[in-house]
């Protein structure tokens, strides 16, 4: 909690903002069922379209931002969000990396528009989907599609306590080992993005026999030249590899560079 709020004795004001997204990450806040009452006692939820009927204007102590920037209007609006926010935290793959909608970055948006809409006269969209950090300074980024509930609470409680959130940036492999899941690459030959993917989900997919699909984006130490041959060994061809890297975090710089390199051959 900032000194100012402590001196005033008032609850910090929380805002939740939506840009291009499915809303899943901001709904994670409402998913904090057991903690929701305690949370609303500690912060004033001043702006949250999904939960508050009368949004409050003014400065916000903590802004949680969901979604990526895909329209000129949103590119303007995010400047406003930054201007009225003391701390700005992005929620999930869209806000942190551009989301699945960043697949447009690899194609011609005008073509999509013509194919999808009978009349595209009212469609005003940008050629790219970009993360919030491409537009304004961001104080903290939460990974995931969707974010992890525990990590969201960690960010909020860390903010209230005035400490740094603890969201390890190492690989998902750490979490499989800590959870006791035998490596599905080694024991079953299942392609898995775990070795290059940021931890935070608790290694959910491998625990159910499915390869990690990288929804938390790149870890803090990716080694794609060593890693991609492993995907090929386990049956992936170039198209498979490119598709595996081009999902929710396709525009994350490490995933983007690796998929472009594969595509070029």
């Amino acid at each position: 909690m900032g000194d100012e709020e402590r001196e005033n004795g008032r609850r910090p004001r929380l805002a939740v903002w939506k840009f291009a997204s499915c809303d899943g990450c901001q709904l994670t806040l409402l998913d904090c069922e057991d903690e929701l009452l305690a949370l609303s006692g500690k912060v004033e939820v001043a702006f949250f379209h999904e939960a508050v009927t009368a949004p409050d204007e003014g400065m916000y102590d903590l802004s949680l931002v969901d979604g990526s920037i895909t329209t000129p209007a949103d590119a303007e609006r995010v400047q406003h969000v930054r201007a009225v926010s003391r701390r700005l935290v992005t929620l999930g793959a869209c806000a942190t990396a551009g989301g699945i909608q960043a697949l447009r970055n690899y194609a011609d948006v005008a073509e999509f528009r013509a194919a999808v809409y009978a009349s595209d006269a009212y469609i005003d969209t940008l050629a790219t989907s970009t993360p919030i950090s491409a537009h304004v300074p961001v104080d903290f980024e939460l990974r995931g599609c969707p974010i992890d509930r525990g990590q969201l609470l960690e960010v909020i409680t860390a903010y209230l306590a005035g400490r740094t959130p603890d969201t390890p940036a190492h690989s998902v492999c750490f979490e499989c080992k800590r959870r006791g899941t035998p490596c599905i690459v080694v024991a079953r030959g299942i392609p898995c993005l775990g070795p290059v993917t940021h931890a935070g989900c608790g290694a959910l997919c491998p625990a159910y026999g499915r390869g990690c699909y990288g929804c938390f984006g790149p870890s803090n130490s990716t080694k794609f030249p060593a890693f991609i041959p492993l995907l090929r060994r386990d049956g992936m061809n170039t198209l498979d590899v490119v598709r595996a890297l081009r999902t929710f975090n396709t525009a994350a710089p490490e995933f983007d560079a690796a998929s472009r390199k594969e595509e070029l051959g």
């Binding site: 305690a38 909020i156 860390a158 492999c173 060593a226």
Partner: protein, 385 residues
Amino acid sequence: MTVGTAVSTVLDRDGLDALITLLAEDGRTVIGPTVRDQAIVLAEIGSGADLPYGWGVELEAGHYRLRSRADGAAFAHSAGPQSWKTYLHPQRERQWTADLTADGDMEVREETSPPPSYAFIGVRPCDLRAIAIQDRVLGGGPHADTRYAARRRQAFVVAVECTEPGATCFCVSMGTGPAVGPGYDLALTEVVDGRGHRFLARVGSPEGEAVLARLPHVPADEETAGTARRLVEEAAARMGRTMPEVDLRELMRETLDAERWNDVTARCLTCGNCTMACPTCFCTTVEDVTDLTGEHAERWRRWESCFDVDFTHLSSGPVRASPLSRYRQWLTHKVGTWHDQFDSTGCVGCGRCIVWCPVGIDITEEAHALDAERAAASGDGEVER
């Protein structure tokens, strides 16, 4: 009965089952190998029926597959994906809790929950040595981990000699197996032949002696004892891997600038799997947890790894930023500077880091390559490979 290997007895499958049941009835949490997720994992077992009878494993670098065994053996498999540190040095453990008092002070309470009383069934000789190494690291010195020590003190250890080494095993090179060393309460050697399925049992402690006395058993016959001895001797000759027969500590010291580090780093994913699978890697970090009220805080300790770039994060950034520096730190510590720090090697030759490395980096191959590079640099043409 004498404590040690002089006097031995024989249990059959029912006897082993009775051992597990008896240890559980004594209030212990019995942990042993069992089949789950297409691997032989360590987990709580309720009876002998949970043991992996009839299952073996096929091991290679970066490769593990379950294989059925015609002989129905329970312990003819090598080290699995986990080790006993899962239980003795758990991946996450609370250190203390703190609460704000009415007058604004902080009341801190150290974690005092009673440690579980474990019985470990099927501890391999290499893993028995790994436990001894962690005893020295965690239980010794001026900052002994009292909770580790308490779990360790209460643990009842049933070791099993190794009769079926894997292709990635090199316990002979490290002097840890396949015959059992000290540190067990009971030691078993599994024998399956025309005369039946049985376990040669030896006592290693008064507690082991007391437990064995309560089980249906017969004195060891010469044939069973002889077969058991032969199986272990044959296992020693079937190691899948070797370490170079040189002073590894010296090798590490003399090859810090070797070209080989670049070679291995190009293959390394820096994913951390080797350290998590290693039965002696002990590194941890702490996390401070606060709740929404701001009146309650906890400190937890969790497994960390020298492969995590944040492991050495200081105000100026990570000390070991490059993947090369991280891999080299791990290997030179494991078989080199571990001696300086803890008076032994940190490697027991279990082969887990080889098997569970997704890209199959092989600690023995790297050591041989470093040895060869050193020999070549010193003009010695005789390169052992």
